[in-house]
């Protein structure tokens, strides 16, 4: 009886996470592939599912028109994709540059302070990201807090245009994504044994050398995890550039949004998302997987 329970417990431990992944990750993905192979129509739902289990049994009638349409108008999708990748790339880079010293500082402070700082890092998640963006607008506006201060302090006479610039866009991106970068970096940096750093110093390495040859390579798993955690959602981001940026920021996320909401073409929206996953995200995940394989 007892061992049966244990066996059940073990099965639960293995299958619960798998089931979770299956239900909340794989199923939506499969459904998205299904939608991308369906035909759009004016109905509820606004597509004719390619794969269907209905009264007359199971049917599967995929159409590739949605992909062909994207292929035909590839220029309309390529430039937003380039914009998105550029935005995601620089957001990731800036997050990394800001997060690294912060994560280092947190990892090197004493244990109780570490926990407080980590809670503070997570704090922004308790307010909606949209609210935080409006708070940022309140800071950066021509008559916002920062400009008011600069004018009051006599540093500038006319307000500095900070909104609708790269500066405001990346401020918003960093504000939103920084915690996702800090946490994995922190996790890899606390693991760093102080005596290893001292050994390097003892063997003649100066600060920059220690960073380059010891700290950075040893924190690489954290760097990679952090970059993925920021890059992947940033590729799909469009609300932040729309709120904070000027007119030149057409993002792939917005293109998917317009396919979905304006053209009411759910299948094409799904097809773009699938292509995005196939072109940008799968290779990253695959390379990461290869990396892991070769290490172990």
């Amino acid at each position: 009886m007892h061992s049966l329970l244990q066996k059940f417990g073990r099965l639960l431990v293995i299958w619960l996470p798998l089931g979770w992944l299956g239900i909340f990750f794989m199923l939506p993905l499969v459904e998205m592939v299904n939608v991308s192979l369906s035909e759009a129509r004016r109905a509820v739902p606004p597509y004719n599912p390619a794969f269907q289990i209905g009264k007359d049994g199971i049917s599967f009638q995929p159409v590739v028109d949605n992909y062909l349409l994207i292929y035909e108008y590839w220029e309309d999708y390529l430039w937003p994709a380039v914009n998105s990748v550029r935005l995601a790339f620089f957001s990731t880079l800036y997050c990394l540059l800001f997060a690294y010293p912060m994560a280092w500082w947190i990892a090197r402070s004493n244990k109780s302070l570490q926990h407080i700082l980590l809670v503070l890092i997570l704090m922004p998640f308790w307010t909606s990201s949209l609210l935080r963006m409006y708070a940022l607008i309140g800071l950066l506006n021509p008559n916002g807090v920062i400009n008011d201060f600069l004018i009051w302090a006599g540093i500038t006479v006319t307000p500095i245009q900070m909104m609708q610039t790269d500066f405001s866009i990346y401020s918003g991106m960093i504000l939103t994504y920084l915690p996702l970068m800090i946490l994995p970096l922190y996790a890899s940096l606390v693991r760093l044994d102080n005596s290893v750093l001292e050994a390097a110093a003892d063997l003649g390495a100066k600060n920059w050398d220690i960073f380059r040859t010891i700290i950075l390579p040893l924190s690489m798993p954290g760097v990679i995890a952090g970059c993925l955690l920021v890059f992947i959602p940033a590729v799909g981001e469009f609300v932040i550039p729309a709120l904070l940026g000027g007119p030149e920021q057409l993002m792939l996320g917005k293109v998917i949004w317009t396919e979905f909401f304006r053209n009411r073409d759910w299948p094409v929206a799904a097809a773009i998302a699938i292509i995005l996953i196939a072109i940008i995200i799968l290779p990253i995940v695959y390379a990461r997987y290869q990396d892991k394989e070769s290490i172990s």
Partner: protein
């Protein structure tokens, strides 16, 4: 080490849950009353009803109302097309309603169950019915136009006294736009409300579905694109009220909201709104019942309540949009009734038009033209 990892994971999961649950809850307001005569789930635009209307309705009928808000037709439409939204009454704009009906997302309204329907302005309701293609799709709640809101002093300073504050050319003429670049121009991120008007400015009919006309409109927009601060529907109300931008293509009600905010803030900015002489498109927001609504009787009760002359007038006085309700006019603030930007003059009415409901192919053309314009290529 193990412990701090655990801490980290818990933190990330907690954060994830917070983000996840934050999404949709913020818009929900729940009201409670003692005796419950069933429920009613309403999904309406934000800032689109007088503050005490719902409470008064609940007190009068005993129906418990759940009142949720959206701020774009697209979001509403996606919910309707996905089905099982759980709402009993929604307020789509006429063209969205037309498409929704085509998809089978809405049911017909039985006007005999709404005694106050007789208060409706037949002229307005007919135009909406024409657009939707049915006389029993629903009742117009508010209607309005798309025009230009501007900061009087800033425009005068840059364009002089003969600034064309009666024409689309204030923004659409590149020479003017260049002069206004420094004080800030914004355009609605709503292609179906902007492109037809650019077409009228260019001399084409605003009701055209000709691909060439759309493309010409896109080119005209691209010509002023270098001078635009942004393309965004939600931000310009605040920005024009604060003097951060000086001219914007806006919806009438938004423009008056901005004017009101500027007045309230006493920041010295005077905002005005006009319907350009070239003409503009009208839109109608229609109270309609989703196909799968559960509390249909209460939905009728609510529509009937909203159609009462005094209730309709209170709402107009609060939101500053023109009402579909003719009987309400005596109770409406004279400032509103006499404003040509809200209730257009007879002469202006001649140039107003109603855009046809585009088919899927036209949707795609409109979107492509718009995306190319906003992407700058």
């Amino acid at each position: 080490m193990e412990r701090s990892n655990l801490f980290l994971i818990t933190g990330v999961i907690a954060a994830g849950l917070v983000v996840f649950f934050n999404f949709d809850t913020s818009n929900t307001q729940k009201s409670q009353v003692a005796e419950i005569e069933g429920e009613l789930n309403i999904y309406n635009w934000s800032d689109y009803i007088a503050e005490d209307t719902i409470a008064n309705f609940e007190a009068e009928t005993g129906v418990r109302v759940t009142y949720d808000l959206y701020d774009s037709n697209e979001v509403l439409e996606a919910k309707m097309l996905a089905g099982s939204s759980g709402y009993d009454l929604v307020v789509p704009t006429a063209d969205f309603l037309a498409r929704g009906r085509e998809a089978g997302a809405y049911q017909d309204m039985d006007l005999s169950k709404i005694p106050n329907a007789s208060n409706q302005d037949p002229e307005i309701q007919d135009q909406a019915n024409k657009m939707v293609g049915s006389a029993s799709a629903g009742l117009v709640y508010m209607w309005g136009s798309t025009g230009i809101a501007y900061n009087e002093a800033m425009i005068a300073e840059r364009l002089g006294d003969d600034a064309p504050t009666d024409s689309w050319s204030l923004i659409l003429n590149p020479e003017n736009a260049a002069k206004l670049e420094d004080c800030g121009i914004a355009i609605l991120d709503a292609p179906t409300d902007v492109l037809p008007n650019v077409m009228t400015y260019l001399g084409y009919p605003g009701t055209s579905t000709d691909k060439a006309h759309f493309e010409a409109a896109g080119d005209a927009l691209s010509a002023i694109r270098p001078y635009l601060r942004y393309i965004n529907s939600s931000q310009s109300i605040n920005d024009i009220a604060n003097g951060d931008i000086c001219a914007a293509i806006m919806w009438s009600g938004d423009a008056f909201q901005a004017a009101y905010r500027a007045e309230d803030a006493e920041n010295g900015h005077v905002i005005d709104y006009y319907i350009p002489d070239e003409g503009t498109n009208l839109w109608f927001d229609v109270m309609a019942i989703p196909a799968d609504a559960k509390n249909i009787d209460n939905a009728y009760k609510f529509v009937d309540y909203m159609m009462r002359a005094d209730v309709a007038a209170e709402n107009v006085n609060y939101v500053w949009y023109a009402s579909g309700n003719k009987a309400a006019k005596p109770d409406i603030d004279p400032d509103i009734l006499s404003h040509p930007g809200i209730y257009p003059t007879e002469k202006a009415k001649e140039k107003l038009f109603v855009t046809p409901v585009y088919d899927a192919k036209t949707d795609r053309i409109v979107t492509r033209v718009w995306n190319r314009f906003s992407a700058g290529n």
